[in-house]
Amino acid sequence: MRDDHEDILLAPIERSGRGFYWAVAGLCVLILWGAIAYSVQFTQGLGVTGLHQPVGWGFYVTNFVFFIGISHAGTLISAILRLSKAEWRRPITRMAEVITCMVIFIGAGQILIDLGRPDRMMNVLRHGRYQSPLLWDATSISAYLTASLTYLYLPMIPDIAILRDRLGKRKLLYSVLALGWTGTEHQKKVLNRAIAIMAVLVIPIAISVHSVVSFVFSMTLQPAWHSTIFGPYFVVGAIFSGIAGLIVTMIIFRKAYGLQYYLKPIHFRYLGQLLLIMALLWFYFTFAEYLTGYYGAEPEEMKVFWAKFTGPFWPFFWSMVLCNFVIPLLCLTSLKQHTVGKVLFASLSIIIGMWLERFIIVVPTLSFPRLPFPQGIYAPTWVEWGETAGSLGLFALFYLLFTKFFPIISIWEIREGRESSLKEVEERIVSYLPSEAEEKV
């Protein structure tokens, strides 16, 4: 059953408007800034950044944790919605999965930038030791990237076949990637089974990735890092920022490509409700984390604690609370009117707030180290700002280019939803309810 509105999904692939070229130009400016910043850092060393002793981790590690967190938008959310048979997922999953794949590359790249000498990466490959949580990170991120790429590609096969058959260009590319898909029952059975296997596999892998990212901090004895709840705290934060990132992406492309027919206010309402739950959960974890530290009153821990609450880092800490809890609570408690606007505002606030949260975790602890180093405050230079802007630009450009090659909303899943979901959902609901025969028994 072909829908006339499907042309809207294929339009960005068939032609590019002036807006596309302007967007690419704008993003290229950001990337150029990042490239210049990196070339300066590469030739002159990390001394051109604000990194110094004792604060050896700053923007780059903050960005790393932040981007890996955003990557939870996709595969994890998509897998959970798919496995729970949430029918409203259909126009959302592809956008989410693409975010994951693009952002993992950018996140992992931050470590290369932070190394200062990227050739040293070869030492990790040649002489890595599995006692180091950094190597656990490398392994789990590799697994997540591989899983996410597979999980993105498999549900794209039927759509690529549609492109192969309907578009007059890139025939070779689409023919190769479509794997000879014709939509036979056997092919559908194979693909659905593989997608189900990947959906199950991807959830523990995604959770392990952010747990392992947290272990980089919590396995040390540094004040405010050595915490048993850091694993779940990081996972909650990752899903939180991931959903916010997904919503912002959805709204941008809804507007740019005219996808209002597919991405309706109901989708944003459901995602907004999820976001509200995650905001409450995030607040609970933050409260538990800081209360435990405060009650223990360990002197070194308290230095970091007060640095965040009233010391040099207070603007970042309280902005984080405002952005991650107060604003989302105000925006998301009632979504009956202006749903899209409220959800967008809350999501933008959360993205800023979660970046600040990562910053607040990484930097204050290093500024007040347990060992007798002199204390120090971190101030990033234009180099770090440039590389952060460049990374964001690169992510946005990759994403934009993806939408010029493949549909950003899954065409076949929408078709499948129309053709069989109504009946399937009805049958499922009937199966939940007590039947007349059971009542008699």
């Binding site: 030791r129 591989t146 498999l154 056997h186 892998i205």
Partner: protein, 85 residues
């Protein structure tokens, strides 16, 4: 819109095998790297248990990925096509 000439079926099939080979090289490369780390820790007598323990989890996961990709490739591109023929 100008339509491209039809593509050679043979070329498509060859490139599909190359595509599958690329996926195997990527995943296989990661497995080889993990095995290399075990060997290095063994040679240096450097807490081999840690490397083996983590590898026992990581390597099967990558093997499952390869299995899923191969299953889809075989089921869709090879077996699916034969049925169609």
């Amino acid at each position: 819109m100008a339509h491209e000439p039809p593509v050679s079926e043979r070329l498509v099939r060859t490139l599909q095998w190359v595509w599958l080979g690329g996926a195997f090289v990527l995943v296989g490369g990661i497995i080889v790297w993990i095995v290399h780390l075990i060997v290095a820790s063994w040679r240096l007598d450097d807490v081999v248990q840690a490397s083996v323990g983590i590898s026992l989890v990581a390597i099967p996961i990558f093997i499952v990925f390869m299995g899923v990709v191969f299953y889809v490739f075989w089921g869709v591109a090879v077996h699916g096509r034969k049925r169609e023929d």
